[in-house]
């Protein structure tokens, strides 16, 4: 048993007392075994002293997806976060950042401190409070309970989340490659807890972004060989301004997902399928940007940014001769930035602005890069770490080792 302090960001919509109106901080002292969870700590506080403390929870085993919240700034499941480790993390980050969480919600600075609740930076030494907040990117209903309907479920429904088979069902089961089922099971493993939605940095900037969980759900159908609407789904997701090309590739969702779904990886696979496999030229310039980038490296080995801008907005000779309105707009928008660059000398040498003047790799290096392209574009192997298992090689090595016999010491259960 050990003592912990939970610093909870609370909101009681019906509060009448001053200091309890709007969001406020309140601390709870709890005592429990370090291997128990932050959820156990919250339930101890709720059951033992304050029944108004609201938190969704059910299974306690990271399967129902109810208890998504931010703990020390990190979006996660409270049931899956050991309280001892959360306290250690609180102590680790407090040294660097007086307000606690490494990624704190923008709203935090406006919060008033509740009665007797120490505010940021004033906690007692030795027992750094575990900072607990409701999930981000979602309106708060009460305490740690957020509104996922308007921020997630609506978008979940947006991706037509059911199988659209290509024909009438077969007499028995569909015959499909075994790996294909394992592959989409990575997305099926999503428990819709909203941790990725909470952490999504694109959604902070664009609340209409379909978001990591819903797009992972979309991949679950696109990647399913039984679905008959693959092209239509991809076309839709690629052309939505808040779709697959609205993801800023920040890995926040990958980092917080408690189930290893890696939503961003699924989004990138949707891009690969939409772009390369289905050659969908979207209105967001996603395909053009990808192709431009890939071609430049093939020709030059390193990136020529000026060329990339042109290729993204107005690809190829045809793009330059017959530019679309959107291409012209995109290029025009980039002109002020370029002019500023010339003025400061950032692009002091004019050649920097002339696509195609960027140097090639020395000697025969570029030929070898080209050879790599030729082979890789031919074979296009996609190693899926989810299917083969991460650290797959280590696994194979361990196969040979005899399993250990039962130890006399009890495991930490």
């Amino acid at each position: 048993m050990a003592s912990y302090t939970l610093k909870v960001r609370r909101y009681q919509p019906e509060a009448e007392e001053d200091g309890r109106r709007g969001a406020y901080w309140e601390t709870f002292d709890v005592e429990l075994d370090p291997t128990l969870s932050v959820l156990d700590g919250l339930l101890q506080a709720r059951d033992g002293s304050d029944g108004t403390l609201s938190v969704r929870c059910s299974c306690r085993a990271a399967i129902c997806g109810s208890c998504g919240m931010k703990i020390n700034g990190q979006s996660t499941l409270a049931c899956k976060t050991r309280i001892g480790e959360a306290a250690a993390e609180a102590a680790r980050i407090s040294g660097a950042d007086a307000s606690g969480p490494l990624i704190s919600p923008p709203a935090e600075k406006e919060l008033a401190d509740g009665d007797g609740a120490p505010g940021p930076g004033t906690e007692s030494a030795g027992n750094e409070p575990i900072v607990i907040e409701p999930m981000g990117n979602q309106p708060v209903i009460k305490d740690l309970v957020t509104d996922m309907e308007s921020t997630h479920w609506k978008k979940f429904r947006r991706v037509t989340p059911w199988l659209l088979p290509s024909g009438p069902p077969p007499e028995r089961e569909h015959i499909v490659p075994p790996e294909s089922m394992v592959d989409v099971t990575q997305s099926v493993a999503c428990i819709q807890c909203g941790a990725c939605v909470s952490a999504c940095l694109s959604m902070e900037a664009d609340p209409e972004f379909i978001g990591p969980a819903a797009l992972a759900k979309a991949y679950r159908f696109v990647g399913d060989p039984r679905d008959g609407q693959t092209t239509e789904r991809l076309y839709d997701l690629a052309n939505d301004p808040h779709g697959i090309y609205d993801c800023t590739h920040c890995f926040a969702c990958v980092d917080v997902c408690p189930k290893g779904v890696a939503p961003m990886n699924q989004i990138m696979r949707l891009r690969r399928l939409a772009g390369h496999d289905h050659d969908i030229h979207d209105v967001n310039n996603g395909r053009n940007h990808e192709l431009g980038f890939v071609k430049i490296i093939e020709r030059k080995g390193t990136l020529d940014e000026s060329l990339l801008l042109q290729e993204s907005y107005a690809p190829g000779v045809k793009g330059k001769l017959l530019p679309r309105a959107a291409s012209i707009k995109g290029l025009l928008q980039s002109i002020p930035t370029a002019i500023r660059g010339i003025r400061t000398g950032k692009m002091r040498s004019l050649p920097k602005l002339i696509p195609g003047v960027h140097p090639k790799l020395p000697g025969d290096a570029q030929d070898h890069v080209k050879a790599i392209y030729d082979r890789a574009e031919e074979s296009r192997i996609q190693l899926n770490l989810y299917v083969i298992g991460e650290g797959g090689e280590e696994d194979q090595a361990a196969e040979a080792v005899e399993p250990e016999s039962v130890s006399e010491e009890p495991s930490a259960t």
Binding site: S54, A61, W162, E399, P403, V406, S411
Partner: protein
């Protein structure tokens, strides 16, 4: 006042399947759940779903295994229905998108499970329940025009008309605390089991058996309530589940001396004997001093090839790592029998009909009875789907051509007043709801568990009756309307105590050992006197015991060995 032809209460597998089946018959459907449907406890079913689908398998073989597993208490007509319809149901799931494991030919592949004479368990890694339930939820989206969802609405009571017909339900919107009377021509209870009566349990916090309690109050008969399954492999302390699929994949059970003790108890099936048998074996090892000091034995998954673990037991690798700090691919994990499932529940026929007209029940809330004294692993998902679908179909047919019933005017006001009474209780120094619940859980786990005797059960019953009185006056903290979980907790406690009383009474009544009920004072099965169901019902308030016959078709009771 919301009105539907069919109203489903509970949105796990049984409830969603019922709603979809009813919608396919063209009626309007409402589905209510106290949590978002995706949070329902069907999620937690890891191992798989049984069906005799393979060409060399037969539904009769599946049925016999189930009958034997039930220790001959299961009703064989119902078991036949379930096993015969299983293959089509499984194919239906595959057709709507469940990502079942495939063999190398791309066909559906199976794994072995306890008590089964063939490997007939179909699965999605070890998240089978989640995978199926999410797929059904997708179908709810597809049928959104016909199915209205009420997510996070807490049903407090059924609405019964003057003739005793069920004509709707009274439900509190958790979001704002408002109460609605839902009218419906058929009401299907699919609100799950009651594992929270025990502590620890593998069951989620929401598994408080609310549906069993409200049906019981409304005059429905409960059956087989004494039959409580203790799962052989749960983590000590927290009660988390380690799937039977682990043993299906070849994992061993070892005592502290490193002996595969199942050799003594079930020399043929070993770790894959039925759950009651394995749990008793473990508890015997522990009681006789061959367990570990923490009151456990060990499950050794390291004998399963690592690649296979990675593919088929992914979730329990996480459970071991996150909740026990054990890498199950490298070392054995300590486990013990833990509360897992109630075979009993609201008594129904094979169409889910209860003795209350208009009221159906399906899934763990119900007792058809296909599980009898002991449920086989991977038969629960099947039960929810088969009888969920049948309830939905029959509920829809029942609703067609009927008008809405009339609900006594006072019903809504009475229900609201009951909730307000709880919210308004003053703190008078009495114990908190959580403390009463904790005592209930410890008492039931101590006295009404793997091994039972008259003295223990009687003391549990006395405690439950005392706690019932105490709970009736327990005060809460939250006086608000918005997301008042405090008041829901108090209602759930009342529900659990009512069921606990019925469980204790039935366990006390059955003076023999059968399936999950092992009486140390009556250690033998006694078919002469006890090959019958124990029913509990409430007439005018006090619980009464009665009996009903077990339906036997093809399989006469035999000695049960594994």
């Amino acid at each position: 006042m919301p009105e539907h032809d069919v109203l489903v209460i509970g949105a796990g597998l049984a409830g969603q399947r019922a709603a979809l089946a009813a919608a396919e018959r063209g009626v309007s459907v409402g589905i209510i759940s106290k949590v978002h449907p995706i949070r329902s406890h069907s999620n937690a079913a890891q191992g798989g779903i049984n069906a005799a689908l393979a060409v060399d398998d037969t539904w009769e073989s599946h049925a016999f295994d189930t009958v034997k597993g039930s220790d001959y208490l299961g009703d064989q007509d119902a078991i036949e229905v379930m096993c015969r319809e299983a293959p089509d149901e499984l194919l239906h799931l595959e057709h709507i998108g469940v990502t079942f494991h495939r063999n190398e030919k791309g066909e559906l592949g199976t794994r072995a499970f306890g008590g089964a004479s063939k490997a007939r368990t179909y699965y999605v890694a070890d998240i089978t329940g989640q995978a199926i339930m999410h797929t059904l939820y997708e179908q709810l989206m597809k049928y959104a025009d016909q199915i209205d969802r009420y997510e996070e609405w807490f049903t407090t009571d059924l609405a019964i008309d003057d003739e005793g017909h069920c004509v709707g339900a009274i439900t509190r919107n958790i979001l704002d605390g408002s109460t609605e009377l839902f009218r419906a021509k058929s009401v299907i209870l699919a609100s799950g089991g009651n594992g929270q009566i025990w502590h620890p349990t593998t069951n989620a916090l929401i598994c408080t058996g609310d549906g069993i309690a409200m049906a019981y109050r409304a005059g429905a008969t409960l059956m087989d309530m004494e039959m409580i399954q203790y799962h052989p492999t749960t983590l000590a302390g927290k009660g988390f589940l380690i799937t039977e699929g682990a043993r299906g994949e070849g994992a061993h059970l070892l005592n502290a001396k490193g002996e595969r003790f199942m050799e003594t108890y079930a020399p043929n099936k070993m770790e894959l004997a039925s759950r009651d048998v394995v749990s008793r074996a473990e508890q015997t090892e522990i009681n006789e001093g061959r367990g570990f000091p923490d009151g456990t034995v060990a499950l050794d998954i390291t004998v399963v090839p690592r690649k296979r673990i990675q593919e088929a037991l992914r979730e329990i690798v996480l459970v071991g790592r996150d909740f026990a700090g054990v890498d199950i691919t490298r070392e054995p994990i300590h486990i013990k029998p833990g509360n897992h499932y109630t075979m009993g529940g609201v008594k129904t026929d094979v169409w889910g009909r209860t003795n209350v007209p208009g009221l159906y029940a399906a899934g763990e809330v119900a007792c058809v009875s296909v599980h009898g004294g002991n449920r086989l692993g991977a038969n629960s998902l099947l039960d929810t789907l088969i009888f969920g679908r049948r309830s939905g179909e029959d509920g829809a047919d029942h609703a067609k051509g009927r008008g809405q019933g009339s609900v006594p005017r006072s019903a809504l006001a009475d229900a609201e007043a009951a909730v307000e009474e709880i919210i308004g209780r003053a703190h008078d120094g009495g114990r908190r709801v959580s403390e009463i619940k904790a005592e209930l859980g410890a008492t039931m786990d101590g006295k009404v568990a793997v091994f039972r005797d008259e003295e223990g059960i009687q003391s549990a019953l006395d405690a439950v009756r005392r706690l019932k009185e105490e709970a009736a006056g327990a005060a809460i903290d939250d006086r608000g309307s918005v997301f008042n979980q405090d008041v829901l907790g108090a209602i759930e406690l009342q529900n659990m105590l009512e069921q606990a009383e019925a469980v204790c009474m039935a366990a006390l009544e059955r003076k023999e050992s059968r399936g999950a009920q092992y009486r140390t004072d009556y250690p033998e099965r006694n078919d002469e006197e006890w090959l019958k169901h124990i029913d509990v019902s409430r007439n005018g308030g006090e619980p009464e015991i009665s009996y009903s016959p077990v339906t036997i078709t093809d399989w006469q009771p035999e000695e049960r060995t594994y």
